[in-house]
Symmetry: C2
Subunit: 202 residues, 2 copies
């Protein structure tokens, strides 16, 4: 007979103290970011402030970038929720084209909001997998629903994803030298995206 509801299958799940420590570390990281900015988040500093060992931080997040990936993840989930189940035009219910445009606007705003964290989430040796992103899937589905049929959808989807995410990850200097340029950059990119989609769908 089965001594447990799940005899074996998943490899046991995270231990309670580990989960607690993860939350503690993320909260501490958010504090440091709020107070001193992304650049001041160091592994030793974070561990010390959280009252934990450095090894623990690495065990939880794997690398410095991993911390920022984890921080992004929560907001990213919320964002995807708005896309999958929120009000139109971002959520379901609007015309596919309108949803595409709305998605671009929302995504650009999201990235602008999370610029430094998103940047810091990059790992030198394992860059963000744009190809496998939720963005790419969403774009592909909406283009299909919009009746767009074109050759090489594979590549097009990858490239549109890069068109959306790339400029903010590759280009705009997030540091602190252009605090004024960026609001304009957001509008510029939103308008560009809308124009691009309009051309492609038409």
């Amino acid at each position: 007979m089965a001594p447990s509801v799940v005899p074996f299958g998943r490899p046991r799940g995270e231990r309670a103290d580990a989960a607690r420590n993860r939350e503690l570390l993320l909260a501490t990281a958010r504090e440091i970011i709020a107070e001193h900015g992304v650049a001041k988040v160091t592994m030793d500093g974070l561990a010390e402030r959280a009252g934990l060992g450095k090894g623990t931080v690495f065990r939880r997040f794997g690398s410095r970038a991993g911390i920022f990936r984890a921080l992004l993840d929560a907001d990213e989930r919320a964002f995807q929720q708005r896309v999958l189940a929120g009000p139109p035009p971002l959520g379901p219910g609007a015309a596919p084209v309108d949803r595409l445009v709305a998605y671009g606007r929302a995504r650009i705003a999201f990235l602008l909001d999370h610029l430094d964290i998103a940047r810091a989430a990059h790992d030198r040796d394992r860059p963000v997998a744009v190809a496998a992103d939720a963005t790419q899937l969403h774009i592909r589905v909406l283009l299909d629903q919009a009746g767009v049929r074109m050759p090489a959808m594979e590549g097009v989807a990858v490239q549109l994803t890069a068109a959306l995410e790339g400029p903010l990850l590759l280009t705009l200097s997030a540091t602190e030298n252009l605090p004024l340029l960026e609001p304009d950059a957001g509008r510029m990119l939103c308008d560009g995206w809308a124009a691009l989609i309009e051309r492609i769908v038409r």
Copy 2:
């Protein structure tokens, strides 16, 4: 009277020994890359192998990424030369649309050829300035010549640049786990680019 042809103006130019050392360092870096790969290029290792001090390396290139930027620069110049004065359709003489497609193909091939160096040329705090890139200017000019008139050309040009350069810089895992995927990735992206341009221009 003027004791020199250029009394003052440029702040003197690079000293001969400095130039010699720069060349030496670049050549040494190329050697290390050829023998052991990009990851094995370290500042200490490079300095030692070149028989120079570490300070010199930093003075010349500013940062590790700077070395790779310098390495790319030479090839990048040659590439731009082919674009500006080479045979059509990449060079002048072909129809703008054909040149756009050819540019994309050539650029993707170029980036694939230089993938790891281009990646390493990224600086965490000062990412590649896609917005100010030669690619962006070229795309803009060719779209204009092709008679494409659309709102928000500003943003569109930035995004098309990212569509071209982004996937290879952000996405494809350059490390060594996908040695087979990449030739296909090149074709996929080339076809995607052609389809994208065809849609936009039409």
